[in-house]
Amino acid sequence: MQESKELIDYFRDFEVNLAYYFSEKLNRLLAKPRWIFISLSHQCTYNCQMCGVVNILKDYQISTQEVKKVFDEISGWDWDFTVVITGGEPFLRRDVFEIFRYAKEKGIRVEAVSNGALIDQSMAEKIISSGLSNIAVSLDGAKEGTHDLIRENGAFRKATQAIKNLSDAKKKSGSGPQVSVWTTIMKENIGELFDIIGLSRKLGVECLVYHPVIVAHEDMQNTSPNARFWPGENDIERLTEQVCRILDYQKKNGFIAFLHNPFFWVKHFRGELTREEWKCNPFVFVNIGPDGEVRSCGASFGNMKNMSLGECLNTKEAFRSRRVMKGCLKPCLQTCWANPDADSLIGIVNSLIRQIRNSQADKITKKKILSMALAKLVFYEEMSQKCQT
């Protein structure tokens, strides 16, 4: 019985991947987003040098009611997705725990990202019991000097203390969100990337995620290779060495979550990542800004205040914006970039077949699943032919 359940899960993955694949290829809305980023406000405790987000949309705040409206809507979706609460610094908002609680009631998986400046002991206990599935704290260096140079004096001590508070609180309560660290790869901290593993292990972190720096000036895509934090040729060599060490560690111990091949970072900083290797699927993620504008990455799809999220995803502007994103020439390799293995049709089908071959289920269920997969393929084939004419 359990085996057939497993098979159904595999089929569900297959279905989702196909939906993303054909959404992108045919430019039709066949899938719901996997990641929904909600930026509560752009206010932040720090003004980090690589991040210009504080200066944009200063006076906007998305209201609690609006966030709840989104939750009401998406809890009805028959889809596997995750909401990520970001900012600015989300814990500057007083209603953030109310938002978490509401999501918990609706049964929505929510993660949050913070810089750790405000997480003291009592706050940590509150976060642990709030029903989040993951809490990420940014840590940009293994040494105090590095992190403080990038952020602000005293930031390192606050961030490490926050992580410690969180992991202690989790130990106390026995259950709670996964405590993870997000590290931005940049020129200043390239030598310390591997050391961050040891530090975060010591602090009781459960998961570590690396992502390359974006130097945001006036918009997110405008990452400039001349910017201050962009690694030079020598730094890139050091990065390669670090990546090898990190990969070795990951093979033995796990702990680090890669969203893509880590050698892409090296290629990315050299400016050699080609469009074929880097498949940013605009249907996979959506971002709601503090002004209520919904967008994936490029231009706005529509405003949350005028229509529902589902409607926003289906506007003319949305399709135009996605088409522009397809032509994007600047890979960013951010955390929203994570794509659900929907790179190639052959890959999707092959992985299903491999899983079915390996499973212990009886032949009848296997046959049933395979014929269902076949029907799905035929469905998409007809659809693609319709799109042609």
């Binding site: 290829k25 045919l26 430019n27 944009i56 949309l57 006036e218 918009d219 997110m220 895509q221 405008n222 290779p225 040729e233 400016g271 050699e272 504008e293 967008r295 990455c297 490029g298 231009a299 706005s300 135009r320 914006s321 088409r323 522009v324 994103m325 397809k326 032509g327 994007c328 020439l329 600047k330 049709l345 052959i346 089908v349 077949i353 079915i356 032949k363 296997k366 046959k367 395979l370 014929s371 997969a373 076949l374 393929l377 035929v378 998409y380 084939e381 693609s384 032919q385 799109c387 042609q388």
Partner: protein, 409 residues
């Protein structure tokens, strides 16, 4: 940035001759495989190059040379081979003809005595035989010669020889020190001040005869500079086109800004990166600008004669006539247009920036609007249609795969 015009691939360091004016070690460098060179040629095509020159060492020592020439021609570029002629017999000339090579340069240094002294016994007869074979197979051949103290008197003879054996051009290039590792031997090839007049006389004869035999040579003011250069004077070329238009590549894939400035000035390696990336990289631009600023030692390598020719109005007119002649060939016009369009597309892609809608100045908003329009053009209906046609066959194949899987159960 100007487009790439010419890729000079030193495809191997192996050589079957040991010439007096060249002591580059043979075969000490690893060679890239055929597939990598094909990628390089493809990239050169993308970058809008017109010519690929295969030099060496002796390029005909590589078994895949014919395949590479064929591939170059297939990509719409012209291919040129620089050889010493030793290996060119009936069979090789036939294979060269089949591969579609445009021009074969055969090195001849002068009379039999001079040539054999500089390049080894028996080299002269083989080179002449090679020229004859090339003529027989209707391949355009040119005679290339390195002018030095030993052979300046033989220059007029070279023209006669070229005319008799069906070569269309005689290309001269003064001796250059980059082929010598032992710099003390440099003096051996340079001329004394007293000899300058003799070289000038020889060159005057050479130019007169070239008009008589109707054989083209290097631009005249390039030739006029040879005597002074050979006496040891250094030229400071400020506007050397070679840095901008040509791309020298070593057998192991190292790309240099130029042969003379090769030392410690590696731009990249095509074994590891694509030529496309290297050529458009900031690093290359930086290196070139650095050289331009400092000024190079100066040389009279043959890749420079295009730049020299530009200063000379007669040569310029001659070049224009040549160009017009070239343009009357329909295929070449199409090629030119294609290359131009390719270059335009590349430039467009480089300039194209992707703006999001985070609030900004009106310029940003205007740019964003324009990008939106371009996005529409760039991925219009036609492209989607092409792709969907692609995956209908893919889906059919995968359907069969699943059906087979069901049968196996």
């Amino acid at each position: 940035m100007p487009n790439l015009k010419e890729v000079i691939i030193s495809i191997t360091n192996r050589c079957n001759l040991r010439c007096r004016m060249c002591d580059i070690p043979c075969g000490e460098i690893d060679e890239l495989p055929t597939s990598r060179w094909k990628d390089v040629i493809k990239d050169a095509c993308r970058l809008g190059a017109q010519t690929v020159v295969f030099s060496g060492g002796e390029p005909l020592l590589r078994e895949d040379i014919y395949e590479l020439i064929f591939f170059t021609k297939e990509n719409g570029l012209s291919a040129c081979v620089t050889s010493n002629g030793v290996l060119i017999d009936d069979r090789v000339a036939g294979r060269l003809y089949d591969s579609g090579v445009n021009v074969v340069n055969v090195s001849v240094e002068g009379t039999k005595g001079t040539h054999d002294f500089l390049r080894g016994e028996g080299g002269f007869d083989k080179a002449i035989a090679a020229l004859k074979e090339l003529k027989k197979h209707k391949i355009e051949s040119t005679v290339a010669s390195t002018v030095s103290k030993y052979n300046y008197a033989d220059l007029p003879y070279l023209l006669k020889l070229a005319g008799d054996n069906g070569a269309t051009t005689v290309r001269l290039q003064p001796f250059n020190v980059i082929f010598l590792r032992d710099l003390r031997r440099r003096k051996e090839f340079l001329i004394s001040k007293a000899e300058i007049a003799e070289v000038k006389e020889s060159l005057r004869n050479f130019i007169e005869l070239s008009q008589k035999h109707k054989i083209s040579t290097n631009p005249l003011n390039y030739l006029y500079k040879i005597p002074e250069y050979l006496s040891g004077k250094e030229f400071f070329m400020q506007q050397c086109g070679a840095l901008w238009y040509s791309c020298p590549i070593n057998p192991n894939g190292d790309v240099f800004p130029c042969w003379v400035e090769a030392k410690n000035r590696l731009v990249g390696n095509v074994g590891e990166q694509s030529l496309y990336g290297i050529w458009l990289s900031k690093k290359r631009l930086k290196i070139i600008k650095n050289i331009m600023k400092k000024g190079c030692k100066g040389c009279l390598m043959s890749c420079y004669d295009e730049a020299f020719g530009e200063g000379y109005s007669g040569a310029r007119v001659f070049g224009k006539i040549k160009k017009i002649k070239r343009f009357t060939d329909g295929k070449k016009i199409i090629n030119k247009v294609r290359q131009f369009l390719k270059g335009a597309v590349i430039r467009f892609r480089l300039r194209y920036k992707f703006y999001s809608s985070y609030g900004g100045s009106w310029q940003v908003i205007l740019k964003r609007k324009l990008c939106g329009m371009f996005g529409k053009v760039a991925s219009g209906r036609k492209r989607i249609q092409d792709k969907s046609a692609d995956f209908s066959s893919e889906i059919a194949c995968l359907k069969k795969k699943i059906e087979r899987e069901i049968h196996l159960l």
